[in-house]
């Protein structure tokens, strides 16, 4: 699955816009992704700073040690959506869909976005998750994130009593 998505992405960016400047992102398992410089600097503060520190983009390879290939592919796919649309609606919808379908993938994407400092995308994704959590009951959150309750019954009752207002 990882190689497949990689090829599509690489093919797309290198054939459709051959005249544009590109850099290479390396996922933790060594897979390489060729991306358009404008597209990625638009999103990632880290890469923007890196390029200005290096003084150019010629042959630049950025190893992303914390990000695996499928995650990076997903992240770049979402960046594409975000770059194509001026408003956040479309990409918010995509992030929502991803959260419903593959929560763990979404969390990994979130971590990757944080790592490469894609601030606005990170903000948006956190907001999507926060919106999801907002109306949930405690039990639903536990189930959603598969968290085990490590309180005793008395402890729970005490916290409940201290925060009575939050439960009505």
């Amino acid at each position: 699955m990882s190689t497949e998505s990689k090829e599509i992405l690489v093919g797309e960016s290198s054939q459709a816009k051959p005249e544009k400047k590109t850099i290479v992102l390396m996922a933790s398992d060594g897979d390489e992704f060729v991306v358009d410089v404008d597209d990625i600097t638009n999103q990632s503060e880290m890469i923007r700073n890196l390029i200005s520190d290096m003084g150019g983009t010629d042959g630049l390879q950025v190893p992303l040690l914390n990000v695996t290939a499928p995650v990076l592919a997903k992240l770049l796919e979402l960046f594409n959506v975000s770059n194509k649309n001026d408003d956040d609606e479309e990409v918010t919808q995509k992030v929502k869909e991803l959260m419903e379908a593959e929560l763990n993938m979404m969390i990994d994407v979130l971590g990757a976005a944080n790592y490469i400092e894609a601030t606005s995308f990170f903000d948006l994704s956190c907001k999507v998750l926060a919106d999801k959590f907002k109306g949930m009951s405690v039990e639903e959150v536990r189930e959603f994130l598969n968290i085990e309750c490590d309180f005793t019954e008395e402890e729970l009752q005490q916290i409940h009593a201290e925060n009575a207002w939050a439960f009505d």
Partner: protein, 407 residues
């Protein structure tokens, strides 16, 4: 040998990690998400697990509070004293008390600012000049970036009012989503006639989308200066202004309840969760009514009634140590305000402020001062909900003229 052990350990940790990542968010991401939740959800989620409790509790090295000050509480000040407005939170982070001037020091002329009203995370501050106001500022006190306040310069300032008219109060109305605001300014006229002093209340509305205010309107003749004003939308786009005479409402209620009230009755109007609330109490009972729409009619319905006795008893337990100095004393409960989002009313007993949660009946002391209060004076009080994102768009200045003010 050591190397093998080490690599084993690393491998085991990796395995562990990959197993856990199926179910849990890493802490740094979790904190980011929790800091974006509304207060009520974060309080509820203290129950999820010990780890979440540590992140969401009032104190502690891992507390999310330092990321985003989502708090809600109130500002209070003792009347007739030159003290400054104090902030007290009700939830969460109950130890987070401070002086309003800490938050307004970046504003122009901040030494002369007085809090006039608050609404949806925004404050209306008046800039004093000669016992009156020359301009007003609307700001979000928890964002001190340059762009987050607007100034209203009131042309021909309030000090140019005719000698028998004076400024009474101002009310801010904003919507959570729109950058527009309205300020209602209230004035009072004194007239001397054969029965003594008569007062007439006038109001005018400053509106950010219209720029100028054109009319000064007369409120009905018998509104006394002791009024409550609330803004409430019943399906219409903008809140209504309602002013109700305290005594009149009291008598209506006494009639409706078919009960004679003795002693001094205290009442309060306010908005909580989008519904108009009315509280009134004496030293025996506390009643709370809500205004609801029923068959196209607006009716006041009883929401909550309880005896004041357990409340006063609890207050005595907390603050009166000697029984003997206490038997003659009559305690009154003074309703101060409704919380805009929670099912909570703020009550004052002596100089202590309590939050009273209606459905669970729990009474918590949240702020106040020491000492007895035999005259039954009330704190000046504005309840406040922080909305970190509340903003008026950009830093702007409005120049608004007051309309012709000849009585």
């Amino acid at each position: 040998m050591a190397a093998t052990a080490n690599s084993l350990k690393i491998r085991r940790r990796r395995l562990c990690h990959s197993k856990c990542s199926r179910c849990s968010l890493p802490d740094d991401l979790l904190v980011q998400i929790l800091s974006r939740l509304p207060v009520k959800s974060t309080l509820r989620f203290r129950c999820v697990s010990k780890e979440w409790l540590a992140l969401l509790s009032d104190r502690g090295p891992h507390s999310v509070r330092y990321l985003c000050p989502t708090i809600c509480g109130f500002f209070y000040r003792r009347p007739h004293l030159a003290g400054s407005w104090q902030y007290a939170p009700i939830h969460p982070y109950k130890d987070h008390h401070f002086d309003l001037s800490n938050l307004t020091s970046h504003l122009p002329d901040h030494r002369n600012l007085n809090l006039l009203d608050s609404c949806n995370g925004l404050l209306l501050l008046g800039c004093r000049e000669n016992r009156s106001y020359k301009s007003m500022i609307i700001c979000n006190p928890f964002r001190n970036d340059e762009t987050n306040w607007v100034t209203i310069h009131i042309n021909g300032a309030l000090k140019q009012l005719s000698p028998l008219r004076h400024f009474v109060s101002a009310k801010l109305m904003t919507h959570r989503v729109s950058p527009h605001f309205k300020c209602v300014l209230l004035f009072e006229d004194y007239h001397f006639n054969e029965w003594g002093i008569e007062t007439i209340i006038w109001y005018t509305i400053l509106s950010s989308d219209r720029g100028q205010c054109h009319n000064i309107n007369h409120l009905s003749q018998d509104v006394s200066p002791m009024f409550g004003i609330y803004d409430i939308a019943f399906g219409d786009d903008y809140p209504k202004l309602c002013i109700v005479r305290e005594d009149e409402i009291d008598s209506v209620f006494c009639f409706a309840l078919n009960k004679s009230w003795t002693g001094r009755v205290r009442s309060l109007l306010g908005v909580s969760r989008g519904l108009a609330h009315f509280a009134f109490c004496d030293e025996h009972e506390l009643h709370i009514y809500i205004l609801v729409k029923e068959d196209g009619e607006r009716v006041w319905k009883l929401k909550h009634a309880c005896s004041s006795e357990p409340l006063i008893k609890k207050h005595k337990e907390l603050h009166r140590y000697r029984e003997d100095d206490d038997n003659e004393r009559v305690y009154s409960i003074l309703p101060l305000g409704f919380h805009p989002d929670f099912d909570v009313i703020f009550l004052q007993i002596e100089w202590r402020i309590y939050s009273f949660h209606l459905s669970s009946g729990s009474l918590d002391e949240v702020a106040g001062e020491r000492g007895a209060n035999p005259a039954g004076e009330k704190f000046l009080f504005h309840s406040f909900t922080v909305d970190p994102s509340a903003s008026l768009g950009e830093r702007r200045e409005y120049h608004m003229g007051l309309p012709q003010m000849d009585p």
